[in-house]
């Protein structure tokens, strides 16, 4: 068949497909006839194959290639059902993912809480150690922040409103979590750094304030949001370590394939991390900083949140095998 005859007999189909694809792309109202789209698309696929096989001109092949490519993208895209995906994620996939990665989560917890614990205990024995970790100005700043004489605790709060701090916590804390995850791709080193750095920082601040006798304001402040915020960092670190581990020990896959599998799994942890840190920021800005609430109540609430978070990770989304 000569090219001209070929084009003349199929041009109407190509025009129709082009029109439907435009409608779908612009999210216009789609009529009943669009149910024919897969069929029409496959016919045009055949036309492209024929045009190539018969060595029709590059121009025609390019035109058909573009048309088929658009059809392919339209037909094989993943539908985005954001709302139901979020619900399912919270009910099932997130805790399941955390349990699936229990080894790395334990390792990340050990790195973070372990380093915090070691520094905490060391400072109890050698209080001057704090000055080897933080600068004198930082130490002074922390002391002023959690001075029991002050009315509101945490980050020079008197001059600023709660909402300002809310925005600050979101920006700062979630960004740290994201970096702790992304850094993992450098063979795990970035995640290792963020886990240890933050662990040591937490341990030294807690150790120093306890040693100073400023424990009550500090623990009352962090009790509420500690569960969500600290576990979020641990999970972000674990997700990052997973990326690094895939590159170091890819097993039977190539490094690239291993990295992809690891990334698809660990990004689920990161969705959860972002949600947890967001919630932590709400608590930190509007509850933890409220000095009117008795420290005892804050401790109880804080511990309850730890308990709830742990039972969520351990129990949610479990089903009996059928």
């Amino acid at each position: 068949m000569k090219q001209h005859t070929f084009e003349q007999s199929h041009q109407p189909q190509w025009d129709t497909l082009e029109r439907w694809l435009n409608k779908i792309a612009q999210q216009e109202a789609i009529s009943q006839e669009i149910t024919q789209l897969p069929q029409l698309y496959r016919q045009v696929c055949q036309h492209l194959a024929l045009a190539r096989d018969r060595h029709y001109t590059p121009h025609l092949i390019a035109r058909l290639n573009r048309l088929v490519l658009r059809g392919h993208q339209c037909l094989y895209q993943t539908p985005i059902r954001l709302f139901s995906q979020i619900i399912n994620f919270m009910r099932r996939h997130f805790p399941q993912q955390v349990r699936q990665e229990w080894r790395l989560v334990s390792l990340a917890s050990l790195l973070f809480f372990g380093s915090a614990g070691i520094v905490f205990v060391s400072i109890q024995n050698h209080p001057d150690l704090i000055y080897s970790i933080l600068t004198t100005e930082q130490v002074h700043e922390i002391e002023v922040m959690y001075d029991p004489q002050r009315e509101r605790w945490g980050y020079n709060r008197e001059a600023k409103s709660d909402f300002l701090m809310f925005g600050y916590y979101i920006k700062n804390n979630i960004s740290i979590d994201f970096q702790a995850f992304a850094g993992g791709i450098l063979f795990g080193l970035g995640s290792l750094f963020f886990l240890l750095f933050n662990g040591i920082y937490l341990g030294s601040v807690a150790g120093h304030l306890t040693d100073m006798g400023y424990g009550v304001p500090f623990y009352a402040f962090i009790a509420g949001h500690s569960a969500l915020e600290l576990m979020a960092l641990v999970l972000a670190g674990a997700a990052g370590l997973k990326l690094g581990l895939a590159l170091i020990a890819p097993g039977r896959l190539t490094r690239l394939q291993a990295l992809r599998c690891a990334a698809t799994d660990s990004i689920r942890l990161i969705y959860g991390v972002a949600g947890m840190t967001l919630l932590a920021a709400v608590i930190e800005a509007f509850w933890s900083s409220n000095a009117a609430i008795e420290p005892l109540i804050k401790y109880i609430v804080g511990n309850l949140l730890w308990l709830m978070l742990m039972s969520y990770f351990l129990l949610a989304g479990r089903y009996r095998a059928t």
Binding site: N65, Y76, I270
Partner: protein, 234 residues
Amino acid sequence: MLDTTRSIETPEGIELSLRVAGPVVRALAWSIDMGIRSIVYSLLAVLLSYLGELGYGIFFIAIFGLEWFYPVVFEVYRQGATPGKRALKIKVLHEWGTPVNWSAAMIRNLLRVVDFLPFFYGFGLITMIINQDFKRIGDLAAGTIVVYDDEKIKMVTLPVESARAMPVSLPLEQQLAIINFAERSPQLLPARKLELANLVTTLTNSRDEVSVKTLYQLANGLMGMNNSTNQIAN
């Protein structure tokens, strides 16, 4: 492979070709996006300064949202292209040629911070140069590629001439060369046309303008044009 065309196979068994976008065009797209974000930040800073501390709080959240999620949201909901990418006619796709989903967009954009290391996309650039699809680290992990979004290809008309049958039978490549010559004639300078047509005087039995004209007629004949309709429809 020296060119930047990559082929993907569809479930229909068809091979599609995509043109991968290189570092320069992607850097330009990034600069446009950066510019847009900077303008939004400046506007927000001015507007929100009236709200005092509440405004600062909103400003922090806006910075966080735009820095991390601006590319993600556009890539998922705007056919794989941020405004910068759209301006330069490139877009993000899965390696298998379909639009990116949330996971892939999140992975490639969260890992952007690593591509940015040690300074100004150093790792990203090195990675892009050493792999054949110009993928930065985020693209490798997410399994995505950045390709040119081809515009609708314009209609081509052969020069209007009556069709003429081939005097001799030629191999396929040579037939295609004659058709391509006719198709590309609007882009060729007159002198170049003559020069090319004079290479095949044995086929056309003529020289200069007559030879060009004969080649057009042969091309029309090869395409199967009738004398009445001398135009390839669309």
